[in-house]
């Protein structure tokens, strides 16, 4: 049985079809990335899968339970960390955790233990009795994640969990995501951060204009756009005329990246041969030379350019 299954989900707002027959499945224990530009339909889809919003058509199930027919039961199986840090600012971290625990029906004694354990895991135990209004964005985000885990859910929905955070908080949250996944939790990660998705996700779905543009592993998705393979090269001196590089027959496009040049073309092996000849003729030495496929970012741009 799939952890999450969406079948032909549709949502319309006035004349706009925000989500158009979106279907996908998320397997037990995988980290599934959900990518898309702003307004593509990511949040609406996620809200429908999590039972927050009713779809106009289609179905969504969590562990086989229909979220429209039985939203309360479905919601008991998941934990959600929405994009905005929306804990109650006038309550303490412990107060927010207790509220979430009580709503999920975690019994009193177990709840106290669970709250302390989670606040400790996310580095907030020392501030457990401070009001959230004095917390930094990173602390609020960690609290939201801790609240999402209060019922020990098998499936976690994380919406932009590292957006706008400092490097330390980002690293802590990514480490926790990996740890949670190792412990068997299924993670549905909505993100704008392509690199994050590339590093964390087993599979990603790209949504554009309310429709799924592609679903696959990051590596397989990158392989779908072979035309953007490239060679990254650096020379010991850059005193030659760059126009001469552009004359190389295998090179379609050149981009400067810091002290390196990225040469695009569909046959990187031919580019390498030409670059070696070029270096010899220009009396410059090759410092480094790497062939690279398209990044997930390039794939994403390619898939969402329409």
């Amino acid at each position: 049985m799939s952890a999450i299954e969406a079948k032909k989900l549709v949502k319309e707002f006035d004349d706009l079809r925000a989500v158009d027959e979106v279907s996908f499945t998320v397997n037990e224990g995988e980290i599934f990335g959900f990518l898309g530009p702003n307004g593509a339909g990511k949040t609406t889809t996620t809200r429908m899968i999590t039972g927050v919003l009713k779809p106009d058509a289609g179905t969504a199930t969590i562990e086989g339970i229909d979220v429209v027919q039985n939203p309360t039961r479905a919601k008991e199986l998941i934990g959600i960390a929405p994009e905005e840090a929306n804990a109650y600012l006038d309550l303490t971290a412990r107060g927010n955790m207790n509220l979430a625990g009580e709503i999920y029906g975690v019994p009193g004694k177990k709840l106290r233990k669970k709250v302390n354990g989670l606040l400790d895991t996310f580095g907030l135990l020392g501030r457990a009795d401070s009001k959230v209004k004095g917390f930094s964005k990173g602390m609020k985000q960690r609290l939201i994640l801790a609240m999402a885990l209060i019922n020990d859910p098998g499936i976690l929905f994380l919406d932009e969990p590292t957006a706008g955070l400092d490097v330390e908080s980002q690293r802590l949250i990514k480490d926790r995501i990996r740890t949670l996944n190792r412990k068997g939790k299924t993670i549905f990660l909505t993100t704008h951060n392509i690199e994050e998705a590339d590093r964390l996700c087993d599979r990603v779905a790209v949504i554009n204009n309310g429709k799924i543009a592609a679903i696959d592993s990051p590596e397989k998705l990158k392989a779908t756009i072979q035309s953007t393979q490239s060679v990254l090269v650096s020379f010991n001196k850059m005193n030659f005329d760059r126009a001469r590089l552009e004359e190389l027959t295998s090179v379609e496009e050149i981009e400067k990246e810091g002290d390196k040049l990225r040469l695009y073309g569909s046959h990187p092996e031919n580019i390498i041969e030409e670059i070696v000849d070029f270096a010899r003729k220009e009396s410059v030495k090759l410092v480094s030379l790497n062939t690279t496929g398209p990044s997930l970012e390039e794939t994403f741009t390619h898939l969402t350019k329409t």
Binding site: K75, P82, Y88, L89, L91, L99, E102, I103
Partner: protein
């Protein structure tokens, strides 16, 4: 179905509301200060019979206090985006709104029960019908809290929008409900309107409970009907407008 687990969830929501919203500006101004000064401006320089005084005070206190916290919760939760967190948890609209109403009722019963007891003591009035009075306090605060919740179904994230709407409803209702003078002394058109105001029946109930003439249980029954109507309408409207507030 509403179960004990549902009640526990509603109580958690009520506890949260009381902790967060009790000290908020609009609640203090419209729930405590305004009825306090309103009552004194009505009292000073007038010779009122004790029964009219206690019924007027009781009616005004419960009306303003029970409708002070309930309209504020939904727009504030929309603005701070805590509403999305709540609806993403295993919590029904019924459980959530009933929790909000319980918080509002706590405020209504406390802040109207205490002044009624003080005035009764000062004026040496005896509570001759305590059971319908206590039930009236409970259903009155439930009914008026539901009206506040109903007004907050407006899909906005600005508390002042709802407060403005609430004031438009709150003041006219006070004037036609026998708070300042018995309904039979109102002009003809106002008597008709007063029949449709739940506050009229609460004010009557207080008057009867302290020895005035009338039927306590009939007034209580009508209050229960109004409570059911406003609560169910509030749930229906909130269910409809909730997606617009996310």
């Amino acid at each position: 179905m509403y179960s004990t687990s549902s009640l526990r969830k509603s109580l958690s929501i009520a506890k949260k509301d009381l902790r967060i919203y009790y000290g908020k500006g609009p609640v203090v101004i419209f729930g405590i200060l305004l009825p306090f000064f309103f009552f004194f401006s009505f009292l000073i320089g007038r010779e009122l019979p004790p029964l009219s005084l206690i019924a007027g005070l009781g009616g005004m206190a419960i009306w303003f206090t029970a409708t002070s916290i309930s309209p504020v919760i939904a727009p504030m939760e929309t603005r701070t985006r805590t509403l999305e967190r709540l609806v993403s948890m295993p919590l029904t609209v019924f459980e959530m709104l009933f929790g909000d109403i319980l918080a509002s009722m706590t405020m209504g019963i406390t802040l109207s029960g205490i002044p009624i007891a003080i005035i009764a003591f000062i004026l040496n009035l005896n509570l001759v019908d305590p059971l319908p009075f206590l039930l009236g306090l409970i259903f009155g605060s439930f009914c008026f809290s539901s009206i506040g919740i109903l007004l907050s179904a407006l899909p906005t994230d600005t508390p002042s929008d709802v407060m403005m709407l609430a004031l438009l409803v709150k003041f006219p209702v006070v004037f036609v409900s026998g708070v300042f003078m018995p309904p039979d002394k109102l002009p003809g058109w106002a008597i008709i309107i007063s029949d449709f105001s739940p506050l009229t029946y609460f004010v009557n109930l207080v008057r009867v409970s302290f020895g005035g003439s009338g039927q306590a249980w009939l007034n209580l029954g009508i209050l229960v009907l109004f409570s059911t109507f406003f609560f169910l309408t509030a749930i229906s409207l909130h269910t409809r407008t909730l997606p617009k507030r996310l």
